[in-house]
Amino acid sequence: MKKFGGKVLFLDRSDINTDEIIPAKYLTEISKEALQPHMLEDLKLEGFDPQGAEAREAEVIVTRANFGCGSSREHAPWVFEVNDINVVIASSFARIFRQNMFNCGMLAIELSEEDISALFEFRDDDGAIDIDFKNNSLTITSGKGSRTFMYNISEFDRALVEAGGWLEFADARY
C-alpha cells in the first residue's frame, strides 16, 4: 500500500479540471517521472504558485467540488503520485479521475461540503493530515488545533487500494 497523509495543499476552488492539473502539452511524455515539474501548472487560482512551498511540500490535497473534471488522462493522478501526493480530499470528484486514483492504489476521499469547509478552517502554513485507512478516518492538525473526520469508501475502492491498483486486482481475479 502507498503512504497516505502529510502536509496539506489547500485548493479553494471547485471544478478544477485535468488540463489545469497537467496541461495537454505534457501528454507527449511516456514516463510518469517526466511529469513531475509540471503539477498544477495551469491552475487558475488567485495567489497559487505551482512552484511555491505549499505545493511542493504537499502530500495531501484538500479541495472543493467536482475535482478532476475534463479529460480522462491518468497523467493527473500520476503527476500527484510522482510529487508524493497520494491522497485528494474533496466534496466530490469527476468519475474518471476518481476511478483513476483508486486504479493507481491512491485515495480519493469524499467528504460533505460542511466537512470540507471545516477542514479549510484549519488552513495555515503547517496543516497536516493523518489518514487512518483501517478505520476510515482522517485527522487534521495545524496551529489552529486538531479534528478527526470519518469518511466512507466503497468495498471495491478499498480492495483496489489494498491490492495496489486495478491491474493487480484484475490480474489476480480474471
Partner: protein, 432 residues
C-alpha cells in the same frame, strides 16, 4: 422489471460483481490512441504481460498529433504502431488512413446498439449515439481492458433529457447540448448516463446525435445515449446487411435495447428548443454558456472548425453554407480540420473544401491538433479562438488563450465578421 438502456447493457454484459454495487462488464470494443495507450503498452511489457485479450475487439488510431510534430510524438506513434503490428490488430489506422478517433471508429461501423465500449479518452461517450454504453476511462482501465477485456463500473443512474420543439434554422445539435450543459452544470451528470429523447432527437442525423452525446462528459456524464432507431439502422446498414434479412429485422433487434416504459430515471429534464438562440460559451467551463446575442461583437483571432464534436461532413456542410461566396475577415485566421479522410474526400467531392479555401481557410489533414492545443493552430497568450470543439478550459488551445465554443454555423459567421455574430444575420443576407 422495467429497465433503462444502460441497465439492459449492464445486465447483458455482467461478468462479475466482486462487491455489491460494483459491476465488472465484458467489453465489446476497446479503442486506443497514441496519447493514453503507450504508457499502458509499456507497463504491460515491463510486467511481462504484453498480450491482448482479442485483437479483433481492439481498434487503434494515431490521431492526436499526426503527422508527428517532434521526437516525443513520433515515439508515441511508434509504440502504438509496433504494438498493433506484433499483436495483429488489423483495425489500426496510421497516417494516410487516420482520423479523429470518435469520428473514424463509428464511420468504420465498429459500434452497434447494446455494445460496451471503452477508450482512454473522455469523449468516448460519443459512441452512445448508437445506443451503446460507451465510457471514457484512464490508462489503467484501458490496460486491463487490453489484457482482460473487462472494465469495472458503478451501476449508472440515468438522466433523461427530453428535447422537444422545432428549433430555428440557425440552431444545431451543438447549440442544444451547450444549453443542456448550462442547465445541468459541469457536475450535474456525474456517475449518470444522459439519455437524449424526444422529437428533436428522432429527427436528428447520426452525426448530430454524436455531437449531442460527445459533450455528455462536459456535464460529468459517463455516457450519452440515444435510442437506436431507423436512422441508426440506415447508418449501419452497409456493415450489418449480411446479418439481417431486412432493415425492419435489424430495427426489431435494436428495439430490445430501448429503455422500457416505466423504467426509473434519476431525473427528467425537459428542454424546449423552439425559439432558442445559438449558444456560445463565455468563460473557462463548458457550462458557462450564453445566448449568442449577449456575446455578439466579441472580437476573435482564430476560427477552428473540426474535432470529434463538429468535424464531420454534416458540420463542414453547415459551415460551408455560410461561407460560400464570402471571405473571412482580414484580421482572422481560419482553420478547418476534416475529422477523417472520408470526411475530407467527401467534402472535396462536394466542393466544400474549395468553398473553405476560397473563403481563406487553411485546410489541415484529419487530426485532433488544435482542439487540445498540441499542434495545427495553437493560439498565443491573449488570443481568442471561436471553436467548434468541446472544451474552453483555461489554456486548452494554448497557454493564456481564450476559447469560445459554438456550432459550425456560428464559427463560420465569426470567421466572416471577425467577431462573434449570430449566423442568422448571414442567413438573412442569403446563404447557399
Amino acid at each position: 422489471m422495467a429497465m433503462t438502456l444502460a441497465e439492459k447493457i449492464f445486465r447483458s454484459h455482467l461478468k462479475d460483481e466482486p462487491f455489491p454495487g460494483t459491476k465488472v462488464l465484458d467489453i465489446d470494443v476497446v479503442m486506443c490512441h497514441e496519447i493514453t495507450t503507450p504508457i499502458a503498452i509499456n507497463d504491460l511489457v515491463a510486467r511481462g504481460k504484453d498480450r491482448v485479450f482479442n485483437p479483433e475487439k481492439i481498434k487503434a488510431v494515431i490521431d492526436h498529433v499526426t503527422p508527428a510534430k517532434d521526437t516525443k510524438t513520433a515515439i508515441q506513434g511508434k509504440i502504438v504502431r509496433d504494438w498493433a503490428g506484433r499483436h495483429d490488430i488489423r483495425d489500426f489506422f496510421d497516417i494516410g488512413r487516420n482520423g479523429v478517433c470518435h469520428a473514424i471508429f463509428p464511420e468504420k461501423g465498429f459500434i452497434r446498439p447494446g455494445y460496451t465500449v471503452i477508450m482512454g479518452d473522455s469523449h468516448t461517450c460519443t459512441h452512445g449515439a448508437f445506443g451503446a454504453f460507451a465510457a471514457g476511462v484512464g490508462t489503467t482501465d484501458l490496460e486491463v481492458g487490453i489484457l482482460k477485456g473487462v472494465c469495472a463500473f458503478r451501476e449508472p443512474k440515468t438522466i433523461r433529457i427530453n428535447i422537444n420543439g422545432k428549433a430555428p434554422e440557425v440552431v444545431y445539435a451543438k447549440d442544444i447540448i451547450l444549453r443542456i450543459i448550462k442547465e445541468l452544470t459541469v457536475k450535474g451528470a456525474t456517475d449518470a448516463v444522459l439519455e437524449f429523447r424526444g422529437d428533436a432527437v428522432s429527427k436528428m442525423s447520426m452525426e448530430s446525435r454524436m455531437t449531442l452525446c460527445n459533450m455528455a462528459i462536459e456535464a460529468g456524464g459517463t455516457s450519452g445515449v440515444c435510442m437506436p432507431d431507423e436512422v441508426t439502422v440506415d447508418y449501419l446498414w452497409p456493415f450489418i446487411s449480411s446479418e439481417y434479412k431486412s432493415r425492419e429485422d435489424a430495427m426489431e433487434d435494436f428495439r430490445r435495447w430501448w429503455s422500457d416504459e416505466g423504467c426509473e430515471y434519476a431525473k427528467v429534464l425537459d428542454i424546449d428548443i423552439a425559439g432558442m438562440e445559438p449558444q456560445v460559451t463565455f468563460g473557462y467551463k463548458p457550462d458557462e454558456v450564453r445566448d449568442i446575442s449577449e456575446m455578439e461583437g466579441t472580437p476573435v483571432d482564430q476560427i477552428y472548425i473540426g474535432s470529434c464534436t463538429n468535424g464531420r461532413l454534416e458540420d463542414l456542410r453547415i459551415a460551408a453554407q455560410y461561407l460560400k461566396g464570402r471571405k473571412i475577415a482580414s484580421a482572422v485566421r481560419g482553420i478547418v480540420s476534416p475529422a477523417t479522410p472520408k470526411v475530407f474526400r467527401d467534402a472535396d467531392e462536394e466542393g466544400i473544401i474549395k468553398i473553405f479555401m476560397d473563403a481563406g481557410f487553411c485546410v489541415t489533414n484529419p487530426t485532433c491538433g488544435a482542439c487540445l492545443g498540441m499542434s495545427n493552430g495553437v493560439i498565443a497568450p491573449g488570443e481568442v479562438c471561436a471553436s467548434t470543439t468541446n472544451r474552453n478550459f483555461n489554456g486548452r488551445m494554448g497557454k493564456g488563450g481564450m476559447v469560445h465554443l459554438m456550432s459550425p454555423a456560428s464559427a463560420a459567421a465569426a470567421a466572416v465578421e471577425g467577431k462573434i455574430t449570430n449566423p442568422e444575420r448571414l442567413r438573412k443576407e442569403g446563404i447557399s
